[in-house]
Amino acid sequence: MTGKGGTGKTTVAGALALALAADGRRTLVVEVEGRQGLAQLFDTPPLPYQERRIAVAPGGGEVRALAVDVEEALLDYLDMFYRLGGAGRALQRLGAVDFATTIAPGLRDVLLTGKVKEAVTRTTRTGDRTRAYDAVVLDAPPTGRIARFLNVTAETAKLAKVGPIKTQSEGVSAILRSPMTAVHVVTLLEEMPVQETADAAAELAGLGLPVGAVIVNGTRPPLLSGRVTQAEIRRGLVAAGLPADRTTVAGLAAEAGAYRTRLALESRLRDELTGLGHLMLELPLLPDGIDLSGLYSLAASLTKQGVVAP
């Protein structure tokens, strides 16, 4: 899940994880930017680097959340692939982990996406190789950085021509470019987010990364279609027994005018998004802001628009 800053990317990621976990499924929602946005969204204490159950989905599913920490991910990786537990800690003490992730941002992204790959491909021990998660939702970096973030092979190819980092990044890259992955872009019906959505979708497609849906957040049903005169407003106010002084009438007319301007702009932007040719989903503006019940209502809205786990 990507999107311009301020479009509600984390909220939509949370809602999608809820929707996909419906009816007894299990999903994981992953955060990689260290903001603890998921904990705030789900109203839970800050997430550790550990998969935690954070919500029960409609119909009895389960949403787990994970905040990936780069240093921990690297140590994890050392442990898993090299059995270098002690040496890993020594590296950390030396500042090597900081060094490695600082000097090689490609490595950083390999580790973060690598953790996601691990969760996606993990199977449960019991049973016949059932996947541990029905879906993994990644609350990814914003549109401006998403292509670079997901294009891990290109970044690491500059650095490591052979060796385990290369192997790992190629594995991640293969998953990200497979039909298992869809990169969804969250936007608002505002000019800059729409522009960035178009730019990001083109950039991702150019890199062979599969663009999923464009998710329009914060939409409102149109309340007013045609023009409205001050005389009409005055008559209505009088009929309802409300103050109909000049300030109020002119004020309401001005508010209605601004509303119509906004609506016209939104309609033009919606057309631009439709023109991108991706699946489009819409989520309503929640008048009272986002709380837990609002999050469930967004999830229900996604379900109603046909969003189900594969």
């Binding site: 800053g5 903001r35 040496a87 490695a100 000097i103 950083r108 980092i165 505002e190 009409e232 009929a239």
Partner: protein, 390 residues
């Protein structure tokens, strides 16, 4: 009813307590030479920076605005079509007061290249440029953008060509990275790891085997195993060839850091009345205070206003329901008003969080515009709204 009374007075989401931010007093103060705009992404930070710069220029100051990755339309509105890392004159600016406006977009790779060229001989620079590690680091190093913004700022300041430099900070995951850049680099340079890596290259060897002496053997083996010998050797060569340059880097980063603390700098926080943006602004205000950076005020963008303050949410919605059949249009207008009013109240609550935490930080509330800025006229209007603070 007390809530009713309170909401009757709320026509805008601007918090009541804080003093008014006078942006004209800042941009026209000859002793202020740097204005830094910071805040979360997506709050109109770049637009604010550009609008302030235009206003300063048209008031007579020789101004340059340093933007980082501006939205295409905003760049076009200033006549910026290419990213060439040099200030370009912005056409159609009113220069009758003796000022001028230049704008530039930061190209971090090119800035990095310039620094290398300025501090090494051409042969060594060529060697550095050819190093795959340099290529990766100069374009993607975590913090390079922040650091290069500092570097560019110090370059612009050093020329004495400008009365005022307006800086738009990078849209970092955390806007604080901008301040961390010098220490980050210093930490990196002082790091033991770096010194270890320097050893083999300095003694002429290209392998890291020397790392694996005595107590470091285990670590060295782990490092080599994970990163691969070739990678380590690239880093090692890169770091040693850049060693002399790095010293200069760090000194300048530290000098810029001190300039940011000085009287000649004014920090402006930019936010929108949304929870994330306000949280970021609050945090940033604390961070600036901790670093002794001069915070001059908060620009609160996209503040909504109610034009018919006499009607509360409840009365409007109640009346709308009774009017649905006979006067559907007025009912719709009242619903629009109620939604707007509710939004204003919510924004006000959010903005109040900042005002409560930092009651003495002056504030300028800028009304929400129906459309984005497309040209200088739009930018001028934003500047006027900023100055016409309330």
């Amino acid at each position: 009813m007390s809530t009713e009374e309170k909401t009757e007075g709320a026509v805008s989401s601007r918090p009541v307590g804080p003093p008014t931010l006078d942006v004209d007093a800042i941009v026209n103060d000859p002793s202020i030479r740097i204005v830094v705009c910071c805040g979360a992404g997506g709050v109109g930070k770049t637009t604010t920076a550009a609008a302030l710069a235009l206003r300063a220029a048209e008031a007579g100051r020789r101004t340059v605005v340093l933007t980082i990755d501006p939205a295409r339309r905003l760049a076009q509105s200033m006549g910026l079509t290419e990213l060439d890392n040099a200030p370009r004159p912005v056409p159609d600016v009113d220069t009758s007061a003796g000022g001028e406006l230049y704008a530039m977009m930061l190209d971090m790779k090119r800035t990095f290249d310039e620094v290398v060229l300025a501090h090494t001989d051409p042969a060594k620079a060529a060697e550095i440029f050819a190093n795959p590690f340099y290529q990766a680091m100069s374009s993607t190093f975590a913090g390079t953008q922040e650091y290069m913004a500092m570097e560019k700022l110090s370059q612009l300041r050093a020329t004495d060509r400008w009365d005022l430099i307006v800086v738009d900070t990078p849209p970092s995951r955390s806007a604080l990275d901008f301040l961390d850049a010098p220490q980050h680099l210093a930490k990196f340079l002082d790091g033991r790891m770096l010194r270890l890596l320097l050893v083999p290259a300095r003694t002429g060897g290209r392998s890291v085997l020397r790392l694996m002496t005595a107590s470091f053997s285990l670590v060295g083996r782990a490092f080599t195993k994970v990163l691969g010998t070739e990678l380590i050797s690239d880093v090692s060569t890169f770091v040693s060839s850049l060693d002399s340059t790095f010293g200069g880097f760090r000194q300048r980063a530290e000098r810029t850091y001190r300039v940011l603390q000085a009287r000649e700098t004014a920090f402006l926080l930019v936010a929108a009345p949304e929870p994330d943006a306000i949280r970021e602004a609050t945090y940033f205000a604390e961070r600036l205070a901790a670093d002794h950076m001069p915070l001059h005020g908060l620009v609160l963008n996209r503040v909504h206003e109610v034009a018919a303050p006499a009607l509360s949410v409840e009365r409007s919605l109640g009346a709308a329901e009774s009017l649905d059949d006979d006067a559907a249009t007025t009912a719709a207008v009242l619903r629009i008003h109620a939604a707007l009013r509710r939004r204003v109240e919510r924004e006000r609550q959010v903005a109040d969080r900042f005002a409560h935490a930092h009651p003495s930080v002056p504030l300028s509330a800028v009304p929400a515009l129906a459309e984005d800025v497309h040209d200088l006229t739009g930018l001028r209007a934003v500047g006027a709204a900023l100055a016409d603070a309330h």
